[in-house]
């Protein structure tokens, strides 16, 4: 019989030479046959699951040794109010559609490595089964939000209807890559690079002038080379996060294992490292690919035609020059349920670096200074969260603030007013090659970056030193 050979098949074969190879081999190829959710991993990794359960990445809170007013309590995203999407409570999970029926938001749990349940402090089989190991460990894993028949919501692999595909992905297990960390860290705050400013998707594609550490033609590091801890704890908290899971292993550029505190051949530079943080000279600007959110005014709703979506009025900026401030590793936070305190600038300090020139532990660090306008409960003066998911769709701000107040504090029909806030966010990524570091005149000149008086100097210390050297004090 003449084979039913169709021109089409020939064309396909000629044009598309990538004929399928043998089924690919992955690390966990032989460890299990079918992936049946976290239970599959728990069979062999119950201990690691427990360590992840207790980590800040799962609990979204931890000990707060570096928060001067933390009072020994555990804090984290789960129980605080911030000046980005305000609070997770009212917005944990669920699909919000616009009037055209398109998804505009899926809740904060999008960046939680769980399958949808709120993390609970106590370990239980349900909680362990809720951990989404594949978020960090499986290359090519993707998930989406689905509604269960009981009406509740959960995160599920997009391949849930394709067991063969899911089995393949679930076997591609490895140490987390930069790409897996960035799926949460580059999109935080509601969009690409909105929140941090120095953690951008682009870093995986750019050359070393973008980030000497993470670029492939640079040091070729990945996030874990610096942040890797143990037992699912990560090193480093930055300046504006509450928790610090590894207080005994802080992360800094001057770690002996990395650069030490005298890495320069130019002695004038090493003289600086006692008072000027490495980041201050080596990160001239941030937000080099995607603009970052610099001001978020929640009091003024903004409508976005293309997406048919409401948001706060957000002022974005690119190639941002950091602000510089003293920082001794500790921070003062504005806690929920505590009357707000305003600084000399009239702003409520959401996160303020501590230390000054007279504090020997303090150095001058670079920061992203994030401003916002937030609602405060009249009388008690407590910061209020906003039920942002509903607001994104409806633009009904008043209702969303009242709902936030009720869900967070149980206060009905809250009367509120608006306050201006400020948050200092440490900048530690997007280090440029040495050539691009700040030169002497970037700081020591009348138009330099540093406001000497504000930092506690009478004037430029270099000028003072030169005067002293010439004997005319």
């Amino acid at each position: 019989m003449v084979p039913r050979l169709h021109l089409f098949a020939v064309a396909v074969a000629l044009l598309l030479p990538s004929l399928p190879g043998q089924a690919r081999e992955y690390t966990h190829q032989k460890y299990f046959e079918h992936y049946e959710g976290t239970a599959t991993c728990l069979q062999c990794h119950a201990e690691e699951a427990r360590s992840f359960f207790h980590s800040q990445h799962y609990q979204w809170r931890s000990a707060t040794a570096k928060i001067v007013n933390g009072g020994g309590k555990e804090f984290g995203k789960i129980n605080v109010i911030n000046d980005f999407c305000t609070a997770v409570g009212p917005s944990w999970i669920g699909l919000t559609n616009n009037s055209r029926g398109e998804a505009i938001s899926k809740g904060c749990s999008k960046c939680h490595a769980g399958l949808g349940r709120l993390p609970e402090p106590g370990e239980s089989p349900e909680q362990l089964a809720n951990i989404d190991c594949l978020m960090c460990h499986a290359a090519g894993y993707n998930r989406d939000l689905y509604q269960r028949t009981d009406g509740g919501w959960e995160w599920r692999p997009v391949l849930w209807k394709n067991p063969e595909g899911l089995d393949s992905v679930a076997k591609r297990i490895g140490r987390p890559t930069t790409t897996s960390c960035l799926r949460c860290h580059a999109g935080s705050g509601g969009g690409p690079n909105f929140k941090r400013g120095d953690l951008e998707y682009a870093v995986t594609e750019r050359d070393r002038t973008f980030d000497v550490h993470l670029a492939k033609d640079g040091a070729g590091l990945d996030c874990l080379d610096c942040h890797g801890g143990s037992d699912h704890k990560v090193r480093g908290r930055g300046a504006d996060l509450f928790g610090d899971e590894m207080p005994d292993r802080p992360l800094g550029c001057d770690d002996a294992a990395c650069h030490g505190s005298a890495p320069h051949t130019v002695e004038a530079l090493n003289l600086h490292t006692a008072r000027v943080a490495c980041q201050s000279c080596h990160i001239p600007t941030f937000a080099k690919a995607d603009p970052t959110d610099m001001v978020r005014d929640w009091s003024t709703p903004a409508y976005h035609q293309e997406q048919d979506k409401w948001s706060a009025t957000i002022t974005m900026a690119k190639d941002v020059v950091p602000v510089y401030a003293w920082y001794n590793g500790t921070t003062r936070a504005q806690l929920p349920g505590v009357a707000v305190t305003r600084g000399r600038d009239g702003r409520v300090g959401m996160m303020l670096p501590q230390g000054d020139r007279s504090d020997p532990r303090a150095k001058i660090y670079p920061f992203k200074r994030h401003l916002a306008k937030m609602p405060v409960l009249v009388g008690k003066n407590w910061l209020l969260p906003i039920a942002v998911e509903e607001f994104f769709a409806s633009g009904q701000l008043d209702a969303a603030v009242k709902k936030g107040a009720e869900e967070f504090y149980g206060v009905k029909d809250a009367a509120y007013e608006w306050v201006e806030t400020v948050r200092y966010m440490g900048i530690s990524h997007e280090v440029v090659p040495a050539r691009g570091a700040l030169g002497c005149l970037d700081c020591h000149s009348p138009k330099g970056r540093l406001d000497w008086q504000a930092l506690g100097y009478r004037g430029d210390p270099l000028v003072a030193a030169m005067r002293a050297a010439h004997g005319k004090r």
């Binding site: 050979l5 089409f8 399928p20 997009v158 394709n162 595909g165 992905v169």
Partner: protein, 114 residues
């Protein structure tokens, strides 16, 4: 059998000509919408198929081995009831394949075709 082959050849050549004459070649996403989604949309009796229904490996296998047998005798009501494999030219198919693979379930940007 032979005549069938020739219908295929002529059909393809005609369509190639049309595709080349067009001002802007349609992109993979539009092609997928036009030539696949019509039969594989949500609630379709033939099953919903979007780029993120399959992993890269499965798409490769599909285009190399399965498309021909599974669509050989399928007629496309959206395009004058002509056989699916005549309606879609190899060029179009190449773009559809690239689009499907770029947005496969295990790609960095999984996607439905909208």
């Amino acid at each position: 059998m032979k005549s069938l082959l020739w219908i295929g050849v002529v059909g393809c050549l005609v369509l190639v000509g049309v595709a080349m004459a067009a001002d802007k070649p349609a992109d993979g996403r539009e092609l997928y919408k036009e030539y696949c989604k019509s039969c594989h949309g949500p609630n379709s009796p033939h099953g919903e198929v979007t780029p993120m229904s399959l992993i890269v490996e499965q798409w490769e296998r599909f285009f190399a081995e399965k498309l021909e047998p599974s669509h050989r005798s399928v007629l496309d009501p959206k395009h004058d009831n002509r056989p699916v494999l005549e309606v879609i030219t190899p060029e179009m198919l190449k773009k559809i394949k690239e689009f499907a693979i770029e947005h496969a379930a295990d790609s960095e940007h999984p996607m439905t075709c909208g």
